[in-house]
Symmetry: C2
Subunit: 116 residues, 2 copies
């Protein structure tokens, strides 16, 4: 059904708009990058992404989870243990990360050239 999630724009129609929404999160790319290497616990991610705050990390993770990129696994132990890993859709994002990383380096080199 076309409910409230109809949003207002081309989300769900145009690949670029779709991607933009997912990637607009400040830490999204970093999170995907780290999870690409291996499954991580909440605390491990928090440390890797320092100085991110707990609240922000939670939001970013929820966002990526809702978009189907990551999987959240809860272990009912004491103390609690929650692991995050990439879903299939998340792993399929790898090519984007790779090309993005390469371009980012080109960009940085470009900036250094015109130093200022």
């Amino acid at each position: 059904m076309n409910n409230e999630s109809e949003k207002k724009d081309l989300f769900g129609i145009c690949p670029y708009f779709t991607s933009q929404k997912v990637l607009s999160g400040k830490w999204a790319l970093l999170i995907l990058h780290y999870l690409e290497e291996k499954t991580l616990r909440f605390k491990e991610l928090e440390r890797a992404l320092a100085p991110i705050t707990q609240a922000t990390l939670t939001k970013q993770l929820r966002n990526l989870e809702e978009h189907g990129l990551i999987t959240r696994t809860v272990y009912n132990t004491i103390p609690p243990k929650v692991e995050y890993s990439l879903s299939e859709l998340g792993h399929q994002f790898k090519p984007v990360l790779d090309s993005l990383e390469k371009w980012g380096e080109l960009y940085i080199a470009h900036m250094e050239r015109k130093d200022f």
Copy 2:
């Protein structure tokens, strides 16, 4: 020199942060996509990106220009004519656009599957 452009984060150090800044513009990807095909005038872009507003389009273009991705060419004619095209750095972004487009389609397919 490390002036005010030092910002506050890893911009200029980490490729992902760098990319994130550039791509965070709501229309950035679309603009790059259209300019990848051919040079366009302001009005042409505006039509292609409808319902974007003039003010917003101007901001997005200035942003991409400052980041060195696009080139702005002004013809002193009446009426005025301004053309936008990709710089070398902009063209080097192509692989990202391609991989992003492919993933975006996977994402859309994924959403349709779990329809809701």
